[in-house]
């Protein structure tokens, strides 16, 4: 969008002729639209050819219908919840009026999560795992980047754990969490903890690697400035190393967030964390005639959210980082 506006203003400022401007707009808008249209057409045509035991593969039209349905279900569920709370409040008020000593009980509404709730859960889970990973990975990356011996000691471990799939971790995480996270009234559900830890284990590595590379390759002139000024080690990190490696740290964070989002869906499916992964799994188990189109809707939503998460990180990077050229990529 920004690029589009720049394209507009840029063209206007440079006084390009109208046809040229029009051509630029055409390229910016028309080509992606054309691409999407072609994809929809192809999808619609091919989907009809594929017959499954749950009916034909969902085309664009049935997905569009499910988007509407899922939203309406959400609105209906919210209305039910509001009605429940209203009834509860009224009932409690009545009982207090009859018996002033009565302590009103407030119960939470326990209806099923709607699709929108599940999106919310997924986002909370992925951000928790990602931020937890970042809080480990960035300090570790700085330490590894600053110390060559530490780098050589830790590098093999990083290289071995980096390619491990989340599905391999999940059974272990589940067992460890149920052994160690014992509480009668847990603040976090176990399924949530399992998903968060699995996400964390998978997205810690790109951040460690990129941060350490950024830190160890700080421009030697800047390092010398720090030496001439006799900055203390802590001040050196704060004033020179950290700002200098911000671009590399953000590169790692963007990679990690992308991985985290992919890992999350798989983790939620298996851990039964009430997010998008569970939605897909439940629909698959449900096996109704609308299941496939609902899953396809979820697939598209996952794609769009993943894209928005990446754009969001890019915007934060542009805002935080001094290196605007790197942030443009």
């Amino acid at each position: 969008m920004n690029a589009l506006i720049q394209r507009f203003t840029g063209a206007a400022e440079s006084g390009e002729s109208l046809p040229l401007q029009a051509l630029a707009i055409l390229k910016q808008v028309a080509l992606p639209v054309l691409g999407i249209a072609a994809f929809l057409l192809l999808w619609g045509l091919l989907a009809k050819q594929v017959d499954t035991s749950l009916g034909s593969f969902p085309g664009p039209a049935s997905v569009a219908e499910q988007v509407k349905n899922l939203y309406q279900e959400h609105v209906a569920e919210r209305a039910k919840a509001d009605a429940f709370y209203e009834r509860q409040e009224k009932r409690n008020a009545d009982r207090v009026a009859k018996d002033p000593n009565y302590v009103p009980k407030v119960r939470a509404y326990t209806g099923k999560e709607t699709f929108l709730d599940q999106i919310g859960t997924s986002l909370v889970t992925v951000m928790s795992g990602f931020l937890l990973a970042a809080s480990f990975a960035i300090p570790l990356g700085i330490a590894v980047g600053l110390s060559k011996p530490l780098n050589e000691a830790i590098n093999p471990i990083i290289q071995i754990f980096k390619p491990v799939s989340p599905l391999a971790w999940l059974p272990l995480v589940t067992m460890v969490v149920s052994a160690l996270y014992v509480s009668d009234d847990p603040f976090f559900a176990k399924s949530f903890v399992n998903s968060v830890i699995t996400v964390m284990l998978c997205c810690i590595w790109p951040m460690v690697i990129n941060t350490s590379i950024g830190v160890s390759s700080v421009n030697s002139d800047w390092v010398n400035v720090g030496k001439v000024l006799r900055l203390s080690p802590l001040k050196n990190i704060q004033k020179i190393v950290l700002p200098a490696s911000i671009p590399a740290i953000f590169t790692g964070m963007r990679m990690s967030l992308g991985i985290a989002w992919m890992v999350l869906i798989a983790a939620e499916m298996l851990a039964q964390n009430p997010g998008l992964g569970k939605f897909i799994w439940d629909e698959f188990q449900n096996g109704s005639s609308s299941s496939l189109s609902r899953i396809m809707t979820a697939v598209l939503v996952i794609g769009v959210i993943g894209f928005l998460l990446d754009r969001g990180m890019l915007m934060i990077q542009r805002w935080v980082s001094w290196d605007k050229s790197q942030a443009a990529r």
Partner: protein, 280 residues
């Protein structure tokens, strides 16, 4: 003779896969307080290494550097360096770049108001007070180098070390900055050691020019006293016979006695090349 900055017989070697490489051999140089000394020599002759030893960024294998009766063995702000590539921190504004140095050097001995005043004073000195809030990527090469000089001056160093400070600039900008530097030098009377490969720059700015032989195992070849009266005016000097004589002395050293392709022996046996063709 007790000198302010005593570089005494330093050898510098660097480890390479093929064994030790001797970059400098018995470099010996004494510099007085307030003196402006240039080191000139062909690229790769180790003049930057000399500067780095004084700065404390490189350790000498033998010999040592004594500044104001204290031995130098690590970097420090009393030997401020102006690096060739300005080396401003790109995430800080011009003001903040100088501020980092001032706060580090003077710490709590200056009140916030004094600190601010001192930063602004130094930026004014290099005519950059209009660009205080600009970041390095919004500045031209010359402006960045001016800020680099302001940052070094703001540390109030005992010796100002400049590593080809104007090497990356175009000729006009370089001339402007040289004039500014002379003006500042008239006022502050700093002790300066400057690396350069520009003969005119060396003659125009220096009190003495130290000419280095080619590496490996480079050392001080000749030292030329530049006894031109100050303040110096580049236009008037262009036709000054003494200036031109000094200039040709340096040129002769660089292109005849130490011509890059010839072995070091050529110093004693001047080549047969005529003096007119040496510049080419």
């Amino acid at each position: 003779m007790k000198s302010f900055l005593d570089i005494s017989k330093i050898d510098v070697t660097f480890p390479t896969p093929k064994g030790e490489f001797t970059a400098l051999k018995e470099v010996d140089l004494q510099i007085q307080k307030g003196e402006f000394v240039s080191l000139i020599g062909h690229s790769g002759c180790g003049k930057s290494t000399v500067l780095n030893v004084i700065a404390g960024l490189v350790q000498a294998k033998n010999g040592g550097v004594i500044l104001n009766q204290r031995e130098v063995n690590e970097p420090g702000p009393e030997r401020a360096v102006v690096f060739q590539n300005h080396s401003l921190l790109p995430w800080l504004t011009a003001y903040q770049n100088v501020e980092l140095a001032v706060k580090q050097v003077f710490g709590k001995s200056k009140s916030p108001a004094e600190t601010k005043e001192w930063i602004e004073h130094n930026l004014k000195l290099v005519y950059m007070d209009h660009a205080m809030q600009k970041r390095p990527d919004e500045m031209s090469g010359g402006m960045k180098q001016r800020i680099g000089i302001a940052r070094a001056l703001a540390m109030q160093p005992e010796v100002l070390l400049m590593d080809e400070p104007f090497g990356a600039l175009d000729a006009l900008t370089r001339a402007h900055l040289q004039d500014s530097l002379m003006e500042i030098q008239d006022e502050l009377k700093n002790t300066v050691v400057m690396i350069t490969h520009d003969v005119d720059e060396a003659v125009l700015l220096s009190d003495r020019i130290v000419m280095m032989t080619n590496g490996p195992a480079a050392t001080v070849g000749e030292i030329l006293d530049v006894d031109l009266p100050r303040p110096r005016d580049r236009l008037a000097l262009a036709n000054d016979p003494h200036y031109n004589h000094l200039r040709s002395e340096v040129l002769t050293f660089l292109y005849e006695k130490q011509a890059k392709v010839q072995p070091v022996k050529a110093k004693k046996k001047p080549s047969v090349v005529s003096t007119n063709s040496h510049v080419a």
